[in-house]
Symmetry: D2
Subunit: 288 residues, 4 copies
């Protein structure tokens, strides 16, 4: 810790059972620790006996007090039954990207990362194919090719976990065409974001564009969600749609869908990285 | 038929197997009968051996030639294997509206009807409840209360069919909370439009807003479709969505959804009445 | 005041210069007065030395304490340099609607009012024409016809002010085709909402749909804003657009525009009535 | 010309004064030359005495007949007073991209080009800065740095014209921050597409995001248009908007705006390259 003070921006995310005065208590706590609140967001499932969610972005004028604030917060959290996460701007999150052969979601993330819209370290991109190596390495990011087949799946996941170990805070499945096992997922609860190429819960599973074409829908969509053991059933972070019509065959739907997949995934990832998202059961609270 | 000529606007809708020169043949046919084409729309499922769809809006300078054109068209249609529909502007379509207790879709239709946006005759509104009688009768439209229960359903449908007989070209289910029997539907193929309060095929069946709330979607939608024997599975005419977030409880979703239900249903009905919609299998071609 | 307590829902809107601990101070104040915060929204123009805005929705378990809370708030506000507004759910706002000949915005407001989406008293509708009398009176709302011409404008406004005096908290210009004088507007600062039939600042002034047609835009819009002395320049509350194309002539643009005018105005009015809107200079903060 | 026949896809764009039977005449002409119509789009400003626009996409079974069809079309066009453009799929259009320092529009175009969504040759990228050389050259595209100052503008344009001469069919200004002279523009009528970072005609000229921030709009937009001598006044091809709120400062508006700039420009360019756009006065007809 340095001897001279510096201002630092921090974000506190928390949830706890509702109780009278809780907002006052939390803001008092922060003020007493020298915090200047910049942005305060709150949501309750029920003001009487529901669950309360808060996101508080604040400046700490003396960053040397951060550790103390964090320690005292742990004590307070115990008393109030809080789940919480506290981070500051210098703790850059580390994000791994998993891809297969399609590059549109990957390149969107990399472009926004390079432009500064997405603030993260990207220690690695992992793929079950070798196709996108050159594109990834041109950004100076290591690319790991880990093939997956029915026989090698367990082994491949073990190898992947080994690579990730202690190196990533978030995994983004950018059109990664493999289903992760429950064992794998259990290592990263609410830390794996997938993009599904439909407006969930419509067209769960494989080939959503074909299903959309066959059903004759007038809008197609994309859904970014946290990955759970139930395929395509995890908490939804963001969704969007784009209008189509009878002129779109399946190939045209795929092209139109790419644009919405890119923007929905990038938005969800940006929100997660900036601590705008809280998970509650199978839903999300997004303080956008 | 009058002895002096008058210009009349007409619409020809047709579908037939693709064959070379078909567009030329149809436009030649119309020109020879004195038609001046105002709007020409065309779609093919496959230019080689698919199905061709056309919508041609044209002015006939001498309305006394309409009957002859129609007769000759029937002959041409036989030769080309066409399905077709020909109507002119003075043949106002007749639309019955079925409602239950909720008034939002009904009132939207009536307001657009009165303002001239929806061009139709409305010979009757039929309801399984009596709640909306006053609202309907204030527009000078007859209101028929036909209660429906599990025991009386067959009888109620028979009575309804009797009322409709030879009087309507289109039935609009404006949040009518009864399921019509296949026998009933068979009387009005592609002539019954329903509004489903979700973005189909998501949330098929009852209580879509509750399901949407439980799933935590970030957009809710509405779908207007033709009614077939498969519940909520008929050809989709129009869909739209509206953005929601974690602050919306089920009641708030219902209120937000009302707006999109109203506009989607009214748009689909307007397109149908102006002969912009063709059904092909379980899909629609909408020449919007 | 009753002798037995009852819970009451209230909303506090306030703005003041930023200062450390202000959120804490305000929430402490509310808690000490028995408030249970239901929804807390906050915005700052600059966390260092900007202006802070808050909207706090809270339950007061004993409504007999409301007056005391209000009195003490006035004292606190002086100290902090706050501007504030405090209201509770039983203080239903009173809204006058001004119309001319077009009914679409008026009827949308009345329909949402009757359905409970818009919560207000409507003591009067005022028009410079007599056309919409029947529609308004069918809702049991008094209709006043006050013609306006260049010569009678001053007199007409005086008569209108007399009618409104002490009876309304909000005036909605639902396609009212007269320009109010600065003298008139000064009586209702930030309390007059107008719907302009374009996406402001595009197409300021008269005939926006004609201008949109001539410019060949691909989207048309509507804008709800507070009325100030600068025509169409007041703080924007809400805007939306709808897609059009080359097939839309001016008449078709007007019809398409009606839908977006209706929804934008109704949304802005609903937000105002529920105290979701704060004005800051020539902008609004909308805690939606 | 080869001695054996091959099928070729072609597009005919034309406009001419309305006259009876014109659709029939044109389709007859095509059929007689062996064309199989795949997609037929038509628009008229007035069926009586307006201007008619057509886009006809057709397959020619024997590509050796293309030249003859084109020659005969020229004769027909003279008779009917047609303006027309005929192209086939093997005549890949050549597109130059002009950029300054911002890369988002450029990279979107390059990504869609590489993915096959945008079908063109890109013989060069020209910039008044050197910043984006590496990004462009990594795609194997030549990059020309032509600095522009008030003093050197004429010379720079002359040099640019020399580079372009006979090499490009379309110039895309992908956030190129220089104003082209009327003399330059006259070489490429309806062949220069610009992206303006606002919803035109709102915020014409410099710094639209600052102006949008100061006006407090609730949506920001982007507009792709053909370049004419009147700054930001040329025919609009495509526009779109994205929702913002009081939390967006000018920097946030710019980031949000980048996404809509990218998609609007790429869409307009794709339509132009596939011959979906016709210019009429200061407007476009887009057969989308």
């Amino acid at each position: 810790m340095r001897s001279s003070k510096a201002t630092i921006r921090a974000v506190l995310l928390l949830s706890c059972p509702e109780r009278p005065g809780i907002i006052s208590d939390v803001s008092n706590f922060l003020v007493k620790h020298g915090a200047n609140i910049v942005q305060f967001d709150q949501h309750t499932t029920d003001p009487q006996d529901g669950v309360l969610f808060m996101r508080i972005e604040f400046d700490l004028e003396d960053d040397r007090h951060f550790a103390k604030l964090k320690g005292n917060l742990a004590a307070m959290a115990g008393e109030y039954g809080m789940e919480w996460r506290l981070s500051h701007e210098r703790q850059t999150k580390r994000m791994a990207i998993f891809v297969s052969k399609m590059d549109h979601c990957l390149l969107e993330l990399l472009w926004r990362w390079k432009s500064g819209e997405i603030h993260a370290e990207i220690p690695m991109v992992i793929s079950n194919h070798n196709d996108l190596r050159e594109a990834v390495e041109s950004y100076g990011i290591p690319y790991y090719h880990i093939p997956v087949s029915a026989e090698t799946k367990e082994e491949a996941e073990a190898k992947t976990l080994e690579l990730l170990k202690d190196k990533v805070d978030l995994i983004v499945l950018a059109r990664y065409m493999q289903i992760l096992s429950p064992a794998f997922i259990s290592h990263y609860p609410d830390q794996i974001i997938n993009i599904h190429h439909s407006f969930l819960p419509a067209f769960i599973g494989a080939n959503p564009y074909r299903k959309a074409f066959e059903r004759g829908v007038k809008l197609i969509g994309a859904t970014a969600h946290y990955v759970t053991n139930d395929l395509d059933e995890g908490p939804i972070i963001e969704q969007d749609v784009v209008r189509v019509n009878h002129r779109y065959n399946e190939a045209a739907l795929k092209i139109a869908g790419r644009q919405v997949e890119r923007s929905v995934l990038a938005q969800a990832v940006a929100w997660h990285l900036k601590d705008h998202v809280l998970v509650y059961g199978n839903k999300t609270i997004v303080f956008a």
